[in-house]
Amino acid sequence: MAGISSICSNPDDRAALTTRSVYIHVPFCRHKCGYCDFTLVAGRDDLFDRYLAALSQEFQVHGFDPSRPTEVDTLFLGGGTPTHPTVSQLRALLELVRDYFPLRSGAEFSVEANPLDLTDEKIELLSEFGVNRLSLGVQALRDDLLTLLERDHRAVQIGPLLERLRPVFASVSIDLMFGIPGQTLGDWEQSLRDVVAYDLPHVSTYGLTWEPNTAFSTRLKRGELNRADEGLEGEMYLAAMEYLGAAGYRHYEISNFARPGFECRHHLVYWNGGDYEAFGPSAARHRAGRRETNVRSVLGWLSAVESGRSVVGDAEDLDPETRARELIMLQLRLDHGVIRDAFSQQTGFAFNDLAAGQLAELLASGLLEDTGEAVRLTRQGKLLGDRVAAEFL
C-alpha cells in the first residue's frame, strides 16, 4: 500500500479548511436503478460530447483557465456513473479535468465506479490519470438483492475484482446498503463479515432511503415492496458499527468507516464546512458561506450552459450564525463531533452559546456526550442524528 501515508489525513486538524477541492458530476448511467434519485440520464450516451463541451464552458464561466491551471488537493468524480462512458470518452473527460485542475502532489483523486465497468483498460486509464481512490457501488452481496436493486453485477464478481484493483489504487472503498426490502439481519451480518474479509481500507454503509418520485416509492405505494421495519434498520446500523468497529475501522462519519488514515479527504471538506468547487448538473459548490446548487436536470444544465445562461438553480448566502449552526449539523456527523476550540476559531461563535437551551437535555437523554473538549453523538445518538442536529438549527 505504497503512497497511502501521503493521502492520509487527520480529520481533527483544520487541513480541510485550506484544501482546494473540486467535484465533478458525471450524469451517465447504463440504467436508472429503482431507488435512485440522483441526477443522471440513462440511455443518452449520445449527450456525452455536449456534456464535455459544456463542462469546459462551465469551468471557464467560473474563471478557471487551462493556461493557468488550478492545482487541487482533492478531486472527486461522482455520478451517475463516471466509469460508464467509453474508454475514449473517459480519457477525454480525464484530460479535460487534468488540463484545468491538475493534482497537487499528495492529492486525493476519487472516482465512483460501477463494478462491471472496470475493464483492465479502464483501470489502467484511471490510474494513468492519477486516480488513487476508487469508490465501488457494490450495494449488496446477495444476488437476489442485487436484482431487486437493479444492479448489473453478481456477488461472486466482487472478490476477484477487488484483487485486480488492490495493486493499482491506494484506496478502494465499497458502498453497501441495508434496509433493503427482504433483507434480514442475518443477511446483513453476513455481508458485513464478507466485507471485513475483503479487508478494504474504506467502507460506506447506507440505509436505503425511499426518495419520492422513484420507482421504489411507487412500488411501495402499490404494496409491491415492503419497507424495512425501522427497528430492524436500527439494528442493522448498529451491527455495522459493531462488526466494522471490531475489525479496526474507524466510524469517522455517520455512514463511513475507514482504516485510520484512509478517510475520504474530499468528503471531510464538506463536513468541516470547507470550500469546494463543483461542476455539472446538480453539482453544489460552497465558497465562504455562499452555497450554490446547479440546476438538477441534465438537459436543463446543458442548454443553460450552451446558451450562456447561469446554471445555478439555487443559491443562498448564509449569515455567520446560520453558517455556524450548519457546521454543528455537519460536524455532529463526524466521530469527533464539534471540537469547541476549533469551532469558535472557525465560526467566531462559542459552541455553548449556540447550544445553551438544548445541550443539557440532549446530554441527559444520552444522545450526546461531552468530553469537555468536544461534544459528539453517542452510539444511540448516531441512530437519531437528525433529531439531534435539528435541535441546534
Binding site: 425501522e230 450548519e326 437519531l384
Partner: protein, 601 residues
C-alpha cells in the same frame, strides 16, 4: 343637527347567509355613499376573519343620506351577523334602532335564526319590515316563503318587499318602505344628553373608539362627557359618523348614530351598554343597557411562549372591548403554564376569537378542548359551578353532578325527521314536539344536554339534511346526570389540560377515540409513549406511540447540505409550536383531541 323627522334607524336581521351584507352593499350604492369604483362584495365585512369565512361576525353601523320624494333623509342602519353565536351583536343593534328589515331567502324561507331574530326585533318593539331577498335565484319558493312568514312569525306580508342584493332589484322599494313605515326617532335635543354605547373598539393610534346612538340631547365636539356606570369623565376630541368610513362631524342629535374619540388608551373606563351624558348637565337615569349573555362553552387559551402571558392579557382586554360577549379569567395548568379560561357563546364564536387573536394581535395560542359549565352539589351540600374539568373534585365528595340542558328548535325538511330524531335520542335528548310549517317543512323541539349539542350538532344537522336543516337553542336549566371526569395520561402522567367531563355511558368510547386521536397528533419520540384514558384509578382505554428507532440521513455530501439544513430547520420550526410536557412534546392541535367522540369509526 339633522332634521330629526328625516332620520330613520334600522337593523338588517336574518338567518345566516340570507344576504344582509350584500343588501347593505346595495344601500350604500343606491344612496351614493360609495361609488361603483369603491364597491366590493360585502364591503362592511372588513375583518380578516369575516372575509376569510364569508360571514359577518361584528355588527356594522353606517349612516347614509338618501333623497326620497325630493327630501333628504339620513338613514342609519346596522348590518348584523346571522349566526346564532353572534346573537348578542344583534340584540345590541336592535336597541339602537326603531325598525328592522327581516330578510328571508326566497328559496330557503324561514329558518331557525329568522324566527329567533324576528322575535327579538318584535320584543324590542321595533317596526319589522319583512323582505324576501335573493329573488333573482333560479329557483325560488316565494308563495310558500310568504306563507311561512305569516304563519311562523305572524307578520303581515301584504306589502312585502322583494329584493335582490345581487341585481339591486327592489332596493328602492325597500328604502321607500323604510322611510314610510319606520318611525323617526323620538327624543328631545334640548334634554340632557343620553347616548347608548352599543359597541367599542380599540385603535392603536386613537385609543378607544366608542360607538353611540344618541337618544336624547346633543353630543358635540369638545363636550365634556360622563359615562354613567363607570363614573368616568372624558373629553370629546372628535365625533363623527360611519359613511361607511369614519367621517368627523360637528354634532349628533337624537336618533343619530356615530362614534366618539376621547383619546382614552386605558381600558376599563368605557363599557358597552353604558350611557354617555353631559358632564355638567347630567341625565337623571341611565338607559337600560344590556344584559350580558351567558357563555355556553369554555376553553383554556395559553400562549405558546410563556413570556407572552401579559401580552395575551392586553389583547384579550382589547378584544373584549370589541366583543363583550366573551369572558376571560387568568388560569393555570400544570401542563400549559399560565393562561386564561375563556367563555364563548358557541364554537364558531370561539374559533373566531381565537383567529382574531392570532391575526389581529399576533399571539400564538394553545387552546384546550371546550366544555360547558357544570354544576356540582358536594357532599357538604355546597353547590359550585365548574367550567374547567381540572376543578372537578374526587368522586367521593360529589353528591350530585348536574349538566346544562338546552331547548332546541330544529327546522328541517320533513323527510329528515327520522335521522334527526335518532341523533337526538342517541344524545340523551328528551323529545317535546313536532310542528309542520308547511307540507314539507317541520319544526322539531327537543331538550338536549348542552354538551351533546354545542360542539358538533350543527355540523351533524347540516350533513344529515344536506344543508337544509337549521337550529336554535337556549339553555333552560340544569339537570342531574351520571357524569364523570375522564383523565388522560401521557407516559404515565396525568395531563390536566386534557381532562374532560363525559357521561358514564359513553366514557369508554370517548376514551378510545381520544387516545386514538392523540396517537395521530403526537409525533413519535425516541421512547415509547403510552397514552391512557382513566376514570379515577381505572384505565378505560390505551394506545401506544412507538419509539423512533432510527432517524438519520444516510448521505450528506456536497449537494445535500443546503437541502438537509432547510429540512431540519423546518422540523425545528414545527417544534416551536409544541408544548413540552415532561419529556413529551405535544402539538397545539392535540389539545382539541378531547373532542373526539368516536361516534363513527
Amino acid at each position: 343637527m339633522f332634521d330629526q323627522t328625516k332620520i330613520r334607524n334600522f337593523s338588517i336581521v336574518a338567518h345566516i347567509d340570507h344576504g344582509k351584507s350584500t343588501l347593505s352593499d346595495q344601500i350604500l350604492l343606491k344612496s351614493g355613499a360609495i361609488t361603483e369604483r369603491e364597491f366590493k362584495e360585502q364591503l362592511l365585512d372588513d375583518l380578516k376573519v369575516e372575509r376569510e369565512r364569508g360571514i359577518t361576525v361584528k355588527a356594522r353601523a353606517v349612516a347614509v343620506n338618501y333623497t326620497y320624494n325630493g327630501e333628504v333623509y339620513e338613514i342609519n342602519f346596522i348590518d348584523t351577523p346571522g349566526h346564532v353565536d353572534f346573537h348578542y351583536e344583534v340584540s345590541r343593534s336592535l336597541a339602537a334602532c326603531e325598525g328592522a328589515l327581516l330578510l328571508v331567502d326566497a328559496f330557503q324561507g324561514v329558518q331557525a335564526q329568522t324566527v329567533a331574530n324576528a322575535y327579538a326585533a318584535i320584543n324590542a318593539n321595533l317596526e319589522v319590515i319583512p323582505v324576501v331577498n335573493k329573488v333573482d335565484l333560479p329557483v325560488t319558493r316565494i308563495p310558500e316563503v310568504l306563507e311561512e312568514i305569516e304563519s311562523v312569525i305572524g307578520l303581515d306580508t301584504t306589502d312585502v318587499i322583494k329584493t335582490s342584493g345581487k341585481t339591486g332589484a327592489g332596493v328602492e322599494d325597500c328604502l321607500a318602505a323604510i322611510i314610510e313605515r319606520i318611525p323617526s326617532p323620538k327624543g328631545n335635543p334640548k334634554d340632557p344628553l343620553k347616548a347608548l354605547i352599543f359597541d367599542c373598539k380599540y385603535d392603536t393610534y386613537r385609543g378607544v373608539i366608542t360607538y353611540v346612538r344618541v337618544k336624547e340631547g346633543r353630543l358635540y365636539k369638545g363636550q365634556k362627557i360622563y359615562c354613567m356606570k363607570t363614573a368616568a369623565a372624558h373629553e370629546v376630541l372628535e365625533i363623527g359618523q360611519f359613511r361607511p368610513h369614519m367621517e368627523p362631524c360637528e354634532d349628533l342629535g337624537p336618533g343619530q348614530v356615530g362614534y366618539i374619540v376621547t383619546g382614552v388608551k386605558v381600558l376599563g373606563t368605557i363599557h358597552v351598554g353604558d350611557t354617555v351624558t353631559d358632564y355638567h348637565n347630567r341625565a337623571e337615569k341611565a338607559l337600560p343597557g344590556y344584559e350580558v349573555p351567558q357563555q355556553m362553552v369554555f376553553c383554556g387559551m395559553y400562549p405558546i411562549d410563556a413570556t407572552d402571558f401579559e401580552h395575551l392579557r392586553d389583547e384579550l382586554e382589547k378584544m373584549s372591548l370589541n366583543d363583550a360577549s366573551f369572558s376571560f379569567a387568568a388560569d393555570t395548568s400544570d401542563a400549559l403554564g399560565f393562561g386564561f379560561r375563556c367563555g364563548f357563546l358557541g364554537m364558531l364564536h370561539m374559533e373566531v376569537i381565537q383567529q382574531r387573536l392570532e391575526q389581529e394581535a399576533q399571539v400564538d395560542l394553545i387552546q384546550t378542548a371546550p366544555n360547558v359549565t357544570y354544576q356540582l352539589v358536594k357532599t357538604n351540600r355546597e353547590e359550585v359551578f365548574i367550567d374547567n374539568p381540572q376543578e372537578v373534585p374526587d368522586a367521593g365528595s360529589i353528591e350530585e353532578f348536574r349538566e346544562p340542558i338546552a331547548k332546541v328548535q330544529f327546522i328541517l325538511p320533513s323527510d329528515k325527521i327520522g335521522p334527526i330524531m335518532q341523533l337526538c335520542a342517541d344524545r340523551r335528548g328528551v323529545y317535546l314536539t313536532t310542528e309542520y310549517l308547511g307540507p314539507k317543512r317541520v319544526q322539531l323541539t327537543w331538550e338536549l344536554p348542552l354538551a351533546e349539542l354545542v360542539f358538533d350538532m350543527y355540523d351533524k344537522l347540516k350533513s344529515i339534511t344536506q344543508g337544509y336543516g337549521t337550529m336554535n337553542y337556549e339553555v333552560i336549566g340544569y339537570r342531574p346526570a351520571d357524569l364523570v371526569k375522564m383523565d388522560i395520561l401521557v407516559k404515565g402522567e396525568r395531563v390536566d389540560a386534557l381532562a374532560c367531563i363525559v357521561h358514564r355511558s359513553v366514557a369508554e368510547r370517548r376514551g378510545r377515540a381520544v387516545c386514538k386521536k392523540l396517537k395521530e397528533e403526537i409525533s413519535r419520540h425516541q421512547f415509547e409513549i403510552p397514552i391512557q384514558a382513566s376514570i379515577g384509578a381505572r384505565i378505560i382505554a390505551r394506545e401506544t406511540i412507538s419509539a423512533v428507532r432510527k432517524d438519520v440521513t444516510a448521505k450528506c455530501y456536497g449537494g445535500d447540505i443546503s437541502r438537509k439544513r432547510k429540512l431540519l430547520e423546518k422540523q425545528k420550526e414545527g417544534k416551536k409550536r409544541m408544548k413540552q410536557f415532561g419529556q413529551v412534546e405535544i402539538p397545539q392541535k392535540a389539545f382539541l383531541a378531547v373532542l373526539s367522540t368516536g361516534e363513527e369509526g
